[in-house]
């Protein structure tokens, strides 16, 4: 169906209402010029660009972005116009690249309003050019056609416009760049665009607060995944302009494909907050594989509506592949073992083998066949693991902060997010057969179960027994790392952490949380403090539950903090009486549904005095260990996976830096 055009090739256009999608690895400016039969532009009013984004039949985005959607309604284009040139240019200034040769080849596609591609064109071979005419839509005998042009200009927009005989080319080019720069100023600059994989997620737009004027920029053509990475300044225009409830202007109805209302402007029936239902931009394509080699992996090579979802699915795909590949290897080795045993038994049972070398030869044969099968199985495993290792090498650096290890540079570029991520990395998983690969353990948010950081003495895998004091310290450090990560990935003020540290023994490990001021209150100490925190949280669970069950969430008292709550309990059961234990169990059972989560740092042995009363509590929590331990099973085959917590590298200040930002954001939100 799709025609993949090469330079100079043309293709008929089936209908007049079209979208032109642009994806470049880096923010670009998109525009269009309207020319006559000879391609001459008569005046600046025949150019659509970020400074003047609408003309009859055409609309472009106001911003530079890596992905654009240009709306075109060829029926609405003036009759005098015979040629519509779609142009791309690199924004001047900023940190972006200055020539197309330095970025991935831009891809443009003409699609109909359903998103079905009519024709597409990848603009290759650009070098020093900073502006390019990508496509040309032109009239030919009353019908419109598209031609792949790909004409670049090293002199940038000014040269491009001058080439189309626009007298005011230089002034217009300057004003376009100025408009783009002012657009950029509204959004947080993109990180140095290394790979398209670093594109921000295309999640739901931040809710536009009441009283925040909706700038006209939020037109339906605002690019998906505009140059702003994830977080935007509060009140910035939603990136999914298509859901903006108040579109206006003649060109708008063309793209959204809605019939214009007779008066009062078009009506947008789409849900104002719902995810864009337009198809997501295509996943990054794998570079062509060399013959005989498996295709090289690409980050984000999975299904999903956003890069985040794709990466999440990809990680789970890798997890499943590794589990199954290992299952194949293990079952082959088991089979080889049992076959060899059987054959050796036969040799032993056969009286003839006792004489001469016959028995030895049979034994040798059985061992050789065993070795051969195991070697074959190992070869297959190594092949698969090598592929997964290569995949992990591209996926790990592309992960967003919530999915990334603490040593990932993405944490150094941390900004307080505006949206809750899909999932959170709790640690790494690996199997003994494939020690080279670590699978991120991603847990969906909001948490469905509490966490139990087991500070009990466990025979750690490397055989070194940490004493119980050391384990307790490690346990609390792990808990702090998890809590800090949760605080960091939630938007400011939407996650609150309480700490119960009855004996005050965790002061040192808790210091990063306490000193940065991200806690709701200082750690509660003593029996009284414990009882107080538990009572408040229990009351909150009660209230929210009552409100939800009664169908009256509006009736909650005004002062109630509606954010997600996390309670870290250190030194359990120290300082807990029966009443407190019951409250804790209540929180573990009922809390997650109403946004109250539990994180216990505890040694099960120490609470043995409570008897079986606490067994359901331990069962309801997800057990994590502060040291590597193989206690987690995958959902497919049930291998025992070795879990390693996600810890901050020793000596790194990243935790403090991140928490400082979180604290600053919380203060500015008045929490």
């Amino acid at each position: 169906m799709t025609a993949e055009l090469t330079r100079g090739q043309n293709h008929p256009l089936p209908r007049a209402r079209l979208e032109i999608r642009v994806s470049a690895g880096t923010p670009v400016v998109a525009g269009a010029t309207l020319g006559d039969e000879n391609g001459t532009i008569h005046g600046v009013e025949r150019v659509v660009h970020p400074g003047a984004p609408t003309l009859p039949g055409l609309e472009v985005s106001r911003q530079a972005a890596a992905d654009h959607r240009l709306a075109v309604d060829l029926d609405a284009v003036p009759d005098a116009v015979h040629r519509v040139s779609v142009l791309l240019a690199l924004p001047i200034g900023g940190r972006g690249p200055a020539r197309f040769g330095a970025v991935a080849a831009p891809f443009v596609a003409v699609t109909d309003l359903d998103g079905d591609e009519v024709a597409s064109y990848t603009i290759t071979g650009l070098e020093a050019e900073s502006a390019v005419v990508a496509l040309e839509l032109y009239r030919r005998q009353g019908a419109w056609k598209v031609r792949a042009v790909g004409q670049g200009y090293a002199g940038g927009l000014a040269e491009l416009l001058a080439d189309q005989k626009l007298p005011e080319a230089h002034q217009l080019a300057a004003s376009i760049h100025e408009a783009v720069a002012s657009g950029l100023a509204r959004s947080i600059p993109a990180p140095p665009a290394a790979a398209p994989a670093h594109r921000p997620d295309h999640g739901t737009p931040p809710p536009t607060g009441p009283g925040t004027p909706v700038p006209p920029a939020s037109s339906p053509y605002d690019p998906q995944g505009a140059s702003a990475p994830g977080p935007q300044t509060p009140g910035a225009p939603g990136r999914h302009g298509a859901q903006q409830p108040y579109p206006g202007g003649p060109g708008e109805s063309a793209t959204t494909g809605q019939p214009a209302a007779p008066a009062g402007g078009p009506i947008d029936y789409s849900h104002p907050r719902r995810q864009n239902t337009a198809p997501p931009p295509p996943p990054p394509a794998a570079p062509p594989a060399e013959p005989g080699q498996p295709a090289r992996p690409v980050a984000g090579d999975a299904t999903g509506w956003s890069m985040e979802e794709r990466l999440y699915n990809q990680v789970w795909g890798m997890f499943e592949d590794l589990a199954r590949t290992t299952a194949a290897y293990r079952s082959a080795v088991d089979f080889a073992d049992s076959r060899m045993e059987k054959e050796l038994d036969q040799v032993l049972a056969d009286p003839r083998s006792r004489i001469g070398g016959q028995g030895d030869a049979a034994r040798e044969g059985a061992r050789a066949r065993h070795g051969q099968l195991v070697a074959q199985a190992r070869e297959v495993l190594d092949r698969d693991v090598a592929q997964l290792v290569a995949e992990a090498e591209v996926v790990e650096p592309a992960l967003p902060a919530a999915f990334a290890r603490w040593d990932n540079p993405v944490w150094h570029a941390y900004r307080v997010p505006m949206e809750i991520p899909m999932a959170l990395r709790l640690g790494d998983l690996h199997l003994p057969e494939a020690d080279r690969i670590r699978i991120p353990m991603l847990m969906r948010l909001p948490l469905e179960r509490g966490l139990w950081i087991d500070s009990g003495r466990s025979a750690s895998l490397d055989g070194s027994f940490a004493d119980s004091h050391e384990m307790r310290r490690l346990g609390l450090e792990t808990a702090v790392a998890h809590a800090a990560r949760l605080l960091a990935v939630y938007p400011a003020g939407e996650f609150t952490v309480h700490v119960i540290d009855p004996a005050g023994s965790g002061a040192q490990a808790l210091a990063p949380l306490v000193q940065s001021g991200v806690l709701a209150a200082p750690p509660a100490q003593g029996a009284a403090g414990t009882a107080d925190v538990l009572a408040r949280l229990t009351q909150r669970v009660d209230l929210v539950q009552m409100a939800l069950r009664g169908g009256a969430p509006d009736a909650l008292p005004p002062g109630l903090d509606t954010s997600q709550q996390l309670l870290i309990v250190n030194d359990f059961p120290h300082g807990f009486d029966d009443r407190a234990v019951n409250q804790l169990r209540y929180l573990a059972d009922e809390g997650p549904a109403v946004g109250v989560h539990l994180m216990m740092v505890a040694d099960r042995e120490e609470s043995a005095g409570f008897g079986p009363l606490l067994d359901p509590l331990w069962r309801s929590l997800l057990r994590l260990t502060p040291v590597a331990d193989d206690h987690l099973a995958d959902p497919w085959v049930g291998h025992a996976w070795t879990y390693e917590p996600s810890l901050v590298p020793p000596g790194s200040q990243v935790l403090q830096q991140v928490l400082a930002q979180v604290a600053a954001a919380r203060r500015s939100w008045g929490r």
């Binding site: 499943e320 079952s331 089979f335």
Partner: protein
């Protein structure tokens, strides 16, 4: 292109260009036979189930059927249970995908079976077929029609076995009786 296989016929799964197949689909399709006489339009629901048994040296190692949709190693996948059979014409109602490259090295035979879970015999089934499709390009490699509907409730359709470096397929077509693949084990062992 399609080979219409007869009972016991074996074909090699080498591609014509010499490359070997990497991924095949065993598709099973059927339609319920309409009842004769009054209320003939009220066709009865027939639930046929496709299963695949993985053998290593004549020992069953793993089974893929409607309660275990993916073999532990991930190489054999069942697309899901179809309880009523084909409403349309000729499509696969149940399919089992085999990634031949990922089949563990010790697995040397994969046997495909069909059972009537609801207990009707094949006399009441119309247009039942089993076919092998090259999953990479959708080309049908072999088709085996469930001959004439005898009074039995299961059939061992075909097996895919290692031969040399690649794989070969043999049409079996042995009738048997049973509700699930477990009942068929005695009938399967002789054909290995």
């Amino acid at each position: 292109m399609t080979v219409n296989m007869t009972k016991g016929q074996a074909i090699s799964l080498q591609k014509s260009d010499g490359g070997s197949l990497t991924s095949v689909r065993m598709g099973l399709g059927w339609q319920a036979a309409p009842r004769r006489g009054l209320f003939g339009s009220r066709t009865r629901e027939i639930d046929l189930d496709a299963s695949a048994v993985l053998f290593a040296d004549k020992q069953p190692v793993d089974v893929v059927f409607f309660r275990h949709l993916v073999s532990d190693d991930g190489s054999v996948r069942h697309t899901g249970d179809n309880l009523v059979g084909g409403v349309g014409q000729g499509g696969d109602d149940e399919a089992i995908l085999v990634d031949l490259q990922r089949v563990p090295v010790h697995i040397d035979q994969i046997v495909f079976t069909v059972n009537s879970f609801t207990g009707q015999t094949f006399q009441e089934v119309q247009n039942a077929f089993c076919r092998l499709v090259d999953e990479t390009n959708g080309q049908e490699l072999a088709r085996y029609t469930l001959a004439g509907g005898g009074a039995f409730t299961a059939q061992i359709m075909a097996k895919v076995n290692r031969s040399g470096q690649g794989w070969a397929m043999t049409a079996i077509g042995t009738p048997a009786n049973g509700r699930t693949f477990q009942d068929l084990m005695p009938a399967i062992l002789p054909v290995l």
